[in-house]
Amino acid sequence: MHGVLTIAATEIRIGLRNRWIILSSMILLAFALILVLLGSAPGGEVKTDAVTVVVASLSTLSVYLVPLIALLLSFDAIAGEIDRGTLQLVLASPVSRGAVLVGKFLGHVAVLGIAVSFGYGIAGIVTYLANGGGELGALIGVGRLIVTSIILGATFIAIGYIASASVRQTGTAAALAIAIWLFAVVLYDLALLGGLLASQDGFFASEVFPWLLVLNPADAFRLYNMSAIDAAAVGSNLGGGAGSALPISGLATMASPVIWAGMALGLSTFILKRIRP
């Protein structure tokens, strides 16, 4: 336990020192503020709360940005430390390999958590104030977005460890991380869309598609956030369109990224235990 906390605290310290945290906060904040500006442009018709509109666009943004930041944070965690010789030192110490990974995971999730909280938190407050306050309940939406983004990020951090532990070169691990990102947040959805268009009998659309959608942690994240902010008010989207046919709904959707994170952590621990540094 001592080792876990030490490793986590050091990861956070490194994240602060090498400006990882500040840089990813700024990126998230910059994108978020652009969306805030775009969102407030139409002006006239303000049926929906402005904060809610922004939360909706931010959750779409999260699907792309948060997994990317998470993977960039984790791809180096094991391959890089072997390269630099520091993993040998850690593994020579009395800390178990499982504890090493859990420590890194907690540290990296904290790093991502701080960045997401700052980036989205500031954007949310700016929107709230710029629109002259309004319902406080809308801010709860921001909180929900932050928490679920951190869960989504944790999933991809754990998946990044699998990439990092299975190859010996950091460069290869980086390539693998980008490939995972591309597949999970871009290609997967395109393939599902293609499947929808191709299936004539509707069996795919009604029986298979919803499950495949929830299976992908990024899509599950989007589904949950869209359903939570009453998708109808914001407009149609991939998740909203299939909303009625979903096999599971509400908070249960978030089980997908959580289960993925657990499995990925287990698998990367398994691989780490077999590494011969």
């Binding site: 001592h2 080792g3 030490t6 490793i7 050091t10 310290r13 490194i14 020192r17 090498n18 630099r84 010789g85 520091t86 040998q88 030192l89 850690v90 593994l91 020579a92 110490s93 009395p94 800390v95 178990s96 011969r276 540094p277």
Partner: protein, 305 residues
Amino acid sequence: MTEIVKARNVSMKFKAVDALTDVSLDVAPGEQVALLGHNGAGKTTLFRIMLGFIKPTAGSISIAGFAPGSNEARRIVSYLPEQVAFPKMLTGREVVRFYARLKGAPLDDVQSVLAKVDLVDAADRRVETYSKGMRQRLGLAQALVGKPALLLLDEPTSGLDPLSRQHFYELIADVARQGGSVLLSSHGLSELEAKTDRVAILRNGRLVANGPLAALQDEANLPVRIRVRAAATAIDKVHAEIGGGRINGASVELFCARGEKMRILSKISGLGAKVEDVDVAAPTLDEVYRHFSKIGVDEALRGTL
């Protein structure tokens, strides 16, 4: 007394490479042993086996009676890899504190090991500002923290200047005095400066020598070189008396076994004024090392002839 390292007939095979063959090596508590060998001799491989990172393909090894890599073994072993790059953004003190925590060592140790390796002044600077030697000393500080019973140091003196190197051997002697064992690797005997109790030499994965330095010198039994400078006109007479080869017109050089040395020297002193100067050179540590490094080659040659 129970041995802290006990390696019995350890062999390690990587696909086509025989990295270690039939190596048996003991290290007693409080003993300092130097593991020598050329590049690729198998030094790092032996360390990795002792740490439990890799399992030997044959033979057995125990660390204070425990399996290498077991919780008990890891609690008493400290390691310094041949190459390590600590996080550049952390300070030296933070790095040492990190490893102290992982080892469960008291944090008071941090300041004292930093003082031992002479890094107190730089302790609160980031590692990226350290010179090569300072990084090496930081690695050593990390290994010393927690008073390990066994220190495994892979080429700890590479990159150290002669003064730091001497300081390093003083530190190691200190560890040994307090009952800790040290196994360190190095490329040559001269680098060791005769500072360890025992020397083990690996050649192509085989242990070709294992004993105190003096014993190795005896065993090698390399000839002593005697150089005699004759007085202006006496060179022919001196040469006729003691033999050997003539060099640069005024000197005679001869080699003799160590046992012969005194007899020849007294003969030379009998020559009186004919001799202007005598220079006696015992075999250097490098020559002793080269002797043992070559043993394998000679045997191989004999085998093929």
